[in-house]
Amino acid sequence: MTNGTASEAETAVRPPIHRLTHDGRSGELFVIFLINLALSILTLGIYRFWGRTRIRRYVWSQTSLLGEPLEYTGRGIELFLGFLFALVVIYGPIIGLYFGLDVELPDPGEEFGGTKLNRLILFVAIMLLAIPILMLFYYVALFAAYRYRIGRTSWLGIRGGMEGSAWRYGFLGLGLGFLNVLTLGWTKPWADSVVFRYRLGRAWFGNGKFDSHLDADGLYSRYALAWIGTAAAVGAMFAGLATIGLDGQVLDRGTAVDPVRMQIIVIAIELTPLIVYQLLICAYKAALVRNIARTLTYGSVRFRADVTFKDVFKLRIPNLLLMVFTLGFAYPYVVMRTTRFIARHVEIHGDIRTAAIGQTEVGTPRYGEGLMEFFGIGMI
């Protein structure tokens, strides 16, 4: 019950510090993972909604605060129905439009003009207009997914909740996304802080509300480093590709190199900016996590997550490599690493007066995060 609680002598002057504890084991999660895999294949993928629910239930139940485990109360059917709904929302209009307009693509060499051409142009134009709509959906889906997870998480029999509007969050994300494009990414740290503040500041646990006064303090220097480093890497990539020639011939000698080796070199060159970005962005992500924790409050409770560049680097890069090189089979281990990382670094400062926390009044969504399925982010 006194997990991580500071010594009693200090309690008088300083509020106690609590940490999450995580007792999960990769082996146990791996068994669940394998069961899910087998059943997903047998059901052509449909079981994965139930599978994901089972994985969450395990991860939640093995994570405790004050010795009391969290509980995930979501159900597979909710995820499945959300997915079906999203399927109609995303694919319905596209298919309807394609057939409604009777679009034909030109055959090579075919004379292509008149109404056929007009219909194709109209279709392409509508699809281009649909890109912002898809981006809007992405942010709406993100908010809905967080709202679902928070609403289906409970601790000590009390659940979380999220107020605010997914659509408003969607438009906020869309607008900031455009701004980021216009400024070549230089508004991203500020935009990130706005978006996180919106979400975190609307979260509830029981009848108590979280608050966030997150700003972009200290984010810009780390972001600038990643931006400039990545830009330099992109420049180096083009220089490299120009030297060896895009067709795999070394230009100045004009001789063909072993094509397989050439392919490997070309891929390595093309991957450089991505690798540089992934490395450098760790510093930014660490600063973002620190700021989010520092500016988050729940009543008199405060938070800390003093992660460094090295911490985030040691979490992200091995996770990435593990997933790639085991073709996803390291998933349970990656989930465990991540959960343990959170348990190790997140500190909760202050008295959690459980007796004073009542059940939440914030409603919970009936169906889960279906839209998110189409954007494929989020690990668990």
């Binding site: 068994v31 009391e68 029999g157 029981g206």
Partner: protein
């Protein structure tokens, strides 16, 4: 029952506030008695209504609820669960009653491997019957898309050869061949101005011939043999079978990866796999057999077809890249030349000298 009266310390929450009550849980006559020292909690949960909230693991606390109620009871001593079990029904859908982790893991690894192996072996077997049930209009639509995608992949050098008399000669040849073996397909041949020695058959009768193939054919009979071979692929629905296999495989893959967005990419992947088509040895042999049958019935000499295989065998041996790329997937070329020699009985040319000339120049601008 021996364990009646056994008890353990636990924590109770009522689902209304987060207040934790230290309680004593005791196995009673027809339920679990829960009571706190201060008397704030006094409850009996009937055994039939007891449920595990999560999967329970030995040595770690477990959590109980009462049917779908909001109350929770957490007990630190996992042995208590073993004492409790004889009194209750199944405590959860995933109640695994002390199952051995290693045995479970091995079982599920085995099951997964068996399922994957099943797909691996059953998919090719199922592909044929499934492909033959695809309506013609679908097959034609699909073939058209595949042909268009494949031509689009060649981007810059995909100019079509539209020499009028050459097209007519081609049409007459295809007509003559298809008349020997009635099928539901209408064959549509497209010639592309590309030096690769290649030809492929998309489902539904869409055949694409590269200029390089015409250039490398010594005579019209060689071209006729290759055309008949491709028509054989169409009639036997080899392309369709490949697509069914690819589709099945991508279903499995997306189940593995859990990524639905991948479904959108399947159509293009299919086109790609067909454009760089690799039919199995058996499919190639079958197409060869049909080709010779067609040539024989049309009384077209097999000499050119045989010469074509010999040319391919020779040039593949010299590692001519433009040929090797495609015909590497056509194994044992010399054996195929041998097959043509033993079975071909035709004696007549495939087209007139002027028609052949028209075909050879149909790509000239």
């Amino acid at each position: 029952m021996p364990d009646r009266g056994a008890s353990a310390a636990g924590t109770y929450t009522d689902g209304r506030t987060a207040r934790r009550h230290s309680v004593r849980a005791t196995i009673g006559v027809d339920g679990l008695l829960i009571d706190s020292d201060d008397g704030a909690v006094v409850e009996t949960w009937p055994f039939a209504e007891l449920r595990l909230v999560d999967e329970a693991y030995a040595g770690r606390p477990f959590r109980l609820k009462r049917a779908s109620g909001a109350e929770r009871l957490t007990v630190a001593d996992s042995d208590f669960l073993d004492w409790l079990r004889p009194h209750t029904g199944r405590l959860s859908r995933n109640d695994l009653r002390g199952a051995n982790l290693k045995v479970r893991a091995a079982g599920w690894i085995g099951a997964t491997a068996a399922i994957l192996a099943g797909f691996w072996f059953l998919l090719p077997l199922a592909a044929g019957p499934i492909a033959s049930r695809v309506p013609l209009s679908w097959e034609e639509g699909l073939g058209h898309t595949v042909q268009r995608q494949a031509l689009a992949l060649m981007a810059g050098d995909s100019r079509l050869c539209t020499g009028r008399s050459g097209q007519l000669a081609f049409a007459r040849l295809v007509q003559r061949l298809s008349a020997t073996k009635p099928s539901r397909y209408r064959f549509r041949v497209t010639v592309v101005d590309n030096s690769t020695v290649n030809a492929f058959a998309a489902p539904g009768g869409y055949i694409v011939v590269f200029r390089g193939l015409i250039d490398k054919s010594a005579d019209a009979e060689g071209l006729a043999g290759v055309m008949a071979h491709e028509m054989g692929h169409v009639i036997e629905r080899h392309g369709m079978e490949n697509l069914v296999k690819a589709l099945g495989l991508s279903f499995v893959m997306s189940a593995l990866i859990g990524d639905t967005s991948g479904f959108a990419g399947i159509a293009t992947d299919m086109a790609q796999s067909l454009a760089t088509s690799k039919f199995s040895r058996d499919a190639e042999r079958e197409a060869d057999r049909i080709a010779v049958e067609m040539l024989n019935r049309a009384n077209i000499s097999g000499r050119g077809f045989r010469a074509f295989f010999q040319m391919v065998a020779r040039e593949t041996g010299q590692e001519d890249k433009s040929i090797g790329r495609y015909f590497a997937s056509h194994p044992a070329t010399r054996g195929r030349a041998q097959f043509v020699r033993t079975h071909a009985t035709g004696t007549r040319p495939a087209m007139s000298a002027s028609e052949w000339q028209a075909v050879r120049t149909m790509c000239d601008r």
